[in-house]
Each structure stands twice: as structure tokens, then as C-alpha cells.
């Protein structure tokens, strides 16, 4: 229980830190990007928008930092992240809510798939070391070094432009109205194959390598030799004894690299113009839409924290030692 409690405290602190970073950054940045923005949108910004900008960026000279901070938290709890410029006058929260499901689905499927496939391959080559399987390692080194987005570009070039098998961009067929009906879902799945596939290919190498090294390390533990001495079937020793223990650091690694994978997927969405948060972030950076950028940072961080908690739960279920009462 102590483990769970510690983790909960950690997540609360991290969430607080993310929010506070979000609050502090615009206030400590040199220059005055907001004034520049207001000037640029001269006349087009409603008083509403200007006001939300003031609150967000602390341009209100009368309010003390502390009251601004309290005010900021208040808005946050009310779900108010300000107004987006790019999609003016849609509130940031709405823009994000619309695009979040796409990202969650893409990241969720791609990262779990890549984790599972990579871990399994890692088990195989870690278990049979000193054979031809070790030859996979340099390939994984290359794959893990390729930037996600570039692999995306290559995938588009080969599979969408040169041999037009898959669509080049978008999350669904433009002619369809989003909704939960078979045709739309089919189209969405079809559009997600290329982005998800590229995320899997570029992230799988890390899992292969990590699991392979852990397998090699764990295999020299006494309990694996004991399992062999008992004459258990090969599969039981390999999965039940070696892999079962080697996967533990892999799971905590999964939690820790989620932020990295999500970052990669965001860029992938930019390349594929996929209607997720990443593509919105891309549009926001293009339009210097600070409220939207900050909102996205916050939501993504919170989403990663939630995913982390899930990984922790998995860890607790997998490792009896964490369940020990303190």
C-alpha cells in the first residue's frame, strides 16, 4: 500500500508542477509576445479574448502574482483554458476535447502494440543469445535512431505517393461525417494504419533492446537455473521465470517513456495531418496561438500522468514485492 500511496503523492506533485510551469513560463519569458499578438489581431480580438489573454499571461498590472495564481487555478477547475486564436472564438478546451480522442486512440494502440511486439521479440533474442538473432541488434540501433517524423515522410512517399495504397493524410475520408457508424470507423481505421504503423516501427526498437538486455541479465539469476534443473518445459522457464521477471523494469520503463512516445506521436500527427492534438499543436505554433499551445501541454501532461498510473497499477499487479505492507 505504501508504494501506491507514494505514487499517488508523486502524481499530485507532478500535476501541480505541470500547472505551475504552465503558469510561470509566460510570466518569465523575456519580451512581450502577447502584446505583439494583440497588436497583430488589432480590432479582431473581442474584449473577451483580450481579457482571457490578460488573465492567462498575467498582463494585469494591478493583480499580484499570488492572486493571479489563485485566479489561474480557479479558471482551470472551471475548465477554462482561454480562447484559441487559430480557431477563434472557440475555447481552447473545446478544441482539445475534439482532437484528444484521436490522439488517445492512436497513441494507445500504437504504443501498446509496439511494447508488446518489442518485448516479445526481445524475449526471443535475449533467450537465444549467441545465435543469428543477435544480428537484429544493429538493425534496432538504426531504427531507434531514426526520427519518427522522417520515417513518417518516407512511409508517405512509398506507400501513399509512389504506390498509393494508403491515404496520405487526414484521419478519415473527407466525405464522411464523424460519428460511430461502421463506414466511418472503417475509414478511420484505414487512415490510422500508416501513422500507427510508423510509430510502432520507430519505437519498437527500444523495447526490443531493453527486453533483450533484461533477459540476458535475468537469465543468469539462480532461479532460472533452478527452473531448468527442475526440468520444466522450455516455454515455462522462458516466460514464467525469465521473461516474467525481466518484464518488470520494462513496465516501469514504459511508464517513463510514455512522455517520449507521446511527443513522437504528436509530431507524427503533424506529418500525417491527423486530426489529433499534435496536428492542432502544429497549427497553434504556426499561428502563435499561445493559449492553445499551453492548454495542449497541460492536457497532454495530465493524460500521460493518467497513463503512468495505469502502468503503475500493472506494475503492482506484476510484482508482489510492491504489495508488501510497510
Amino acid at each position: 500500500m505504501r508504494f501506491v500511496l507514494r505514487r499517488c503523492i508523486f502524481y499530485l506533485v507532478t500535476a501541480w508542477a505541470a500547472v505551475t510551469v504552465n503558469f510561470v513560463i509566460p510570466r518569465v519569458m523575456p519580451g512581450d509576445p502577447v502584446q505583439a499578438l494583440i497588436n497583430r489581431y488589432q480590432g479582431q480580438l473581442s474584449t473577451d479574448a483580450v481579457e482571457s489573454l490578460y488573465a492567462l499571461f498575467g498582463l494585469d498590472p494591478d493583480a499580484s502574482i499570488w492572486s493571479q495564481y489563485v485566479d489561474y487555478w480557479g479558471r482551470l477547475f472551471a475548465g477554462d483554458l482561454g480562447l484559441s486564436f487559430t480557431f477563434f472564438p472557440t475555447p481552447v478546451a473545446d478544441v482539445i476535447l475534439q482532437s484528444l480522442p484521436w490522439t488517445v486512440a492512436l497513441v494507445g494502440v500504437a504504443s501498446v502494440l509496439s511494447f508488446a511486439v518489442g518485448t516479445l521479440i526481445g524475449v526471443m533474442i535475449g533467450w537465444r543469445r549467441g545465435t543469428w538473432a543477435d544480428g537484429i541488434l544493429p538493425v534496432t540501433a538504426f531504427l531507434s535512431a531514426v526520427p519518427y517524423f522522417w520515417l513518417g515522410l518516407i512511409a508517405i512517399m512509398l506507400l501513399a505517393v509512389t504506390w498509393p495504397v494508403f491515404p496520405t493524410s487526414g484521419g478519415y475520408d473527407g466525405g464522411l461525417v464523424p460519428g460511430l457508424y461502421p463506414e466511418f470507423i472503417g475509414s478511420a481505421l484505414w487512415h490510422s494504419i500508416l501513422p500507427a504503423g510508423t510509430v510502432v516501427i520507430s519505437s519498437v526498437a527500444g523495447w526490443i533492446l531493453g527486453m533483450r538486455n533484461m533477459m540476458v541479465t535475468v537469465s543468469s539469476e539462480d532461479y532460472v537455473t533452478v527452473a531448468q534443473a527442475k526440468g520444466l518445459p522450455e516455454r515455462q522457464v522462458m516466460f514464467g521465470y525469465a521473461a516474467r521477471n525481466a518484464v518488470l523494469p520494462q513496465v516501469s520503463g514504459f511508464a517513463l517513456s510514455l512522455g517520449f512516445i507521446v511527443s513522437g506521436t504528436l509530431v507524427m500527427e503533424m506529418v500525417f495531418s491527423y486530426p489529433g492534438v499534435g496536428f492542432v499543436l502544429y497549427q497553434a505554433t504556426g499561428g502563435q496561438d499561445y493559449p492553445l499551445m499551453q492548454g495542449i501541454f497541460l492536457i497532454i501532461t495530465l493524460a500521460v500522468l493518467v497513463a503512468n498510473m495505469l502502468a503503475d497499477v500493472a506494475y503492482v499487479l506484476l510484482d508482489p514485492r510492491t504489495r508488501q505492507e510497510a
Binding site: 543468469s220 539462480d222 534443473a229 520444466l232 508482489p320
Partner: protein, 339 residues
């Protein structure tokens, strides 16, 4: 009654390292274990005791590699060479023929499985006909046998003390009532009382079931007490082999003599304690001739040139073998080895 052999090790040679200059950790070791006998192996740390039993069971981890010899196991249908077995044959034979309790039983249990599961999975693998309830029952019985409450079957290894883990390992080794039980310093984490208790338990079972035991320990006095035969190893070779009582009364190798005199005897007359000067040799750079010669108080000139083989003692005592040039014909044994 001539004792039947169960396990015969012939000229076993083991290297560590796959490269061009491996460590020759065992060089031509021969040893026979008879039915129902307790064979003790003694020697300084690093002399290759664990290597010997691991190699004989083909459990030696990389970079260990067996480079010669044979290990004949006499099962119900004639002798088989363990070193020539296929993986499947080996798997099927393991734990039924030979079970082993590893040195440092602390890490021998899988930390994520309950003790019960680890006790039963071997039974399930070898007795596919058994029911789950039967296996559980057997696991409880085994735990009780080593003095652990049967409810602990639901415990995870980290919830047990070091000594309890060792006892679980001993229980696990007994699960299939193997023909040969190998104990590699099985009781190092136990207090003296518990140590005796467990050993007595094992010996009692042996009397009842008639299996054979290979027992490795640093406690020479304990070894002499429980073992029928003793093999003394030095730097990857066996230097003396005899009945326990004989070795105790009259060691025939200078190294055995030194080893016996570096421990206080548990029973019997007190005798002066003396260590062995110097330290074990580097297996990578063994001295020529007899490996013990640099430390030997009785070393002669030939000892640095000629490598002694295991052979009869000067007095040609039956069942006794020694690897020392002092025992070649025409030499007189020093007083310490000849009484």
C-alpha cells in the same frame, strides 16, 4: 554386498570462457557415487566444487563449457551418459534422477511466484497425471518436513527469511524423491541448531528412501560426521578420496592434512589447529607439476616437474586413492601422513 554405482564421473574437464585462453576449472575429475551413500566434497573456496556438480548435471552457466569426460547415471534401465543426452531426455530426467540445492539458495526462488507454485510446478511437469489437489498436498507435506508451517505455501519468497528460503529449496529438491540429491552448501544461512536438524531430516529420509547424497560444505567436521566417502579437491582436481572415517583418522595427502587441521574437530581428541600457508593458485597460471607443490610442506624436487595422478596409496589401502608423488614406490612417507 558390493555397492552399486549411481553416478559415475569420468575424466570430467570444464573450461570457463569461450575465447582462445579459457580457465581450466576442472581437469580430468573422476568420482563415483554409490547407491544410498553420502559423498562429501571438501576443498578451499574456488577449488571447483560447485563447478563439478553443476557440470555433472549440465547446469553450468555460460561461459562454462564441458570439454571432455563422461557422466554416467545408472537409472532403472541401464547407464546413460548425461553429457550425451538430448535436451528432451535431459529435461525428462532432471529432478527425478538428480535434484540439486544450489549454493546461495537466497536467489534460487522466483521472486514473483508463490512458494507453493514453485514447489508444485516441478511435480506437474514430471507427473502430468497428478491432480492439482494432490500436488498441493505434497507441497504442504514437503514444507512440514523441513519445519515450515504448511500455510506458508501461499507466501512469496520475499516474505520468508533467508533460512526459510533455504529450507524451501531443500523441500523442493525432495519433491520427486530423486535418486541423487546434491546439496551445495545448503545450510550456510542457517544457525547451527537448524543446520543439524535439516541434515538429520535429510539423512533420515535417505535411510528410508535409499537415495544418494552429494554434500558440499566448508564445515569439514560436519562433513566427516555425515558423509560415508569424502573427496578432497584442490585447484580443479581431486587429490584424495576415501572413507570419511579414514580421512579423518589418517589423511594421506599433505593438502588433506592441512585442510583437516584448519578446523576444530567436533568430537574426539583436540588437536592443534594449523592453516595451510599461502593461497589457492590462479587457475589461469597454474604451477607446473603438482598444483599444490608451492604450498606443500613436504614438496620434493620432482613435485614441480611431474604431475601426480590419482592412484593407490603407499599402503595400498582398498578404496582409497590419492594424487601425491610421496606415494610412489620407494619413497618414505613423512610422519604426519603415515601413522
Amino acid at each position: 554386498m558390493t555397492p552399486e554405482p549411481v553416478l559415475e564421473i569420468r575424466d570430467l574437464a570444464v573450461d570457463y570462457g569461450y575465447g582462445a585462453s579459457p580457465v581450466h576449472a576442472l581437469r580430468g575429475v573422476s568420482l563415483t557415487l554409490h547407491k544410498g551413500e553420502v559423498l562429501g566434497i571438501a576443498g578451499e573456496s574456488g577449488c571447483g566444487k560447485s563447478t563439478l556438480v553443476y557440470a555433472a548435471t549440465r547446469l553450468l552457466p555460460p561461459p562454462g563449457v564441458i570439454v571432455g569426460g563422461e557422466v554416467r547415471f545408472h537409472g532403472d534401465d541401464g547407464p546413460v551418459d548425461i553429457l550425451r543426452m538430448t535436451d528432451q531426455e535431459l529435461r525428462a530426467a532432471r529432478w527425478q534422477d538428480t535434484a540439486i540445492v544450489f549454493q546461495g539458495a537466497m536467489n534460487s526462488l522466483n521472486p514473483v511466484y508463490r512458494v507453493g507454485r514453485q514447489l508444485t510446478d516441478a511435480i506437474a511437469a514430471h507427473r502430468p497425471g497428478s491432480s492439482r489437489a494432490e500436488r498441493e498436498e505434497r507441497a504442504r507435506e514437503l514444507l512440514t518436513m523441513v519445519g515450515i508451517a504448511p500455510e506458508r505455501i501461499r507466501a512469496f519468497p520475499h516474505q520468508l527469511s533467508g533460512g526459510m528460503r533455504q529450507r524451501v529449496m531443500i523441500a523442493m529438491a525432495m519433491a520427486l524423491e530423486p535418486k541423487v540429491l546434491i546439496l551445495d552448501e545448503p545450510t550456510t544461512a542457517l544457525d547451527v541448531v537448524m543446520q543439524r536438524q535439516i541434515l538429520e531430516q535429510v539423512m533420515e529420509l535417505r535411510d528410508r528412501l535409499g537415495f544418494s547424497v552429494v554434500f558440499i560444505t566448508h564445515d569439514v567436521s560436519l562433513l566427516i560426521e555425515v558423509a560415508d566417502h569424502i573427496a578432497i579437491m584442490y585447484a580443479g582436481e581431486i587429490v584424495e578420496q576415501a572413507r570419511a572415517s579414514e580421512v579423518y583418522r589418517q589423511p594421506r595427502h599433505p593438502y588433506s592434512h592441512g585442510l583437516l587441521h584448519s578446523f576444530p574437530p567436533l568430537h574426539g581428541p583436540r588437536r592443534p589447529l594449523a592453516g595451510i600457508p599461502g593461497s589457492p593458485p590462479d587457475l589461469q597460471a597454474l604451477p607446473s607439476g603438482c598444483p599444490f607443490s608451492p604450498r606443500c610442506p613436504e614438496a620434493m624436487d620432482v613435485c614441480t616437474d611431474v604431475h601426480p595422478d590419482l592412484g593407490p596409496t603407499a599402503a595400498a589401502e582398498p578404496g582409497r586413492r590419492v594424487a601425491c608423488l610421496l606415494h610412489t614406490e620407494g619413497r618414505t612417507l613423512p610422519a604426519s601422513l603415515s601413522v
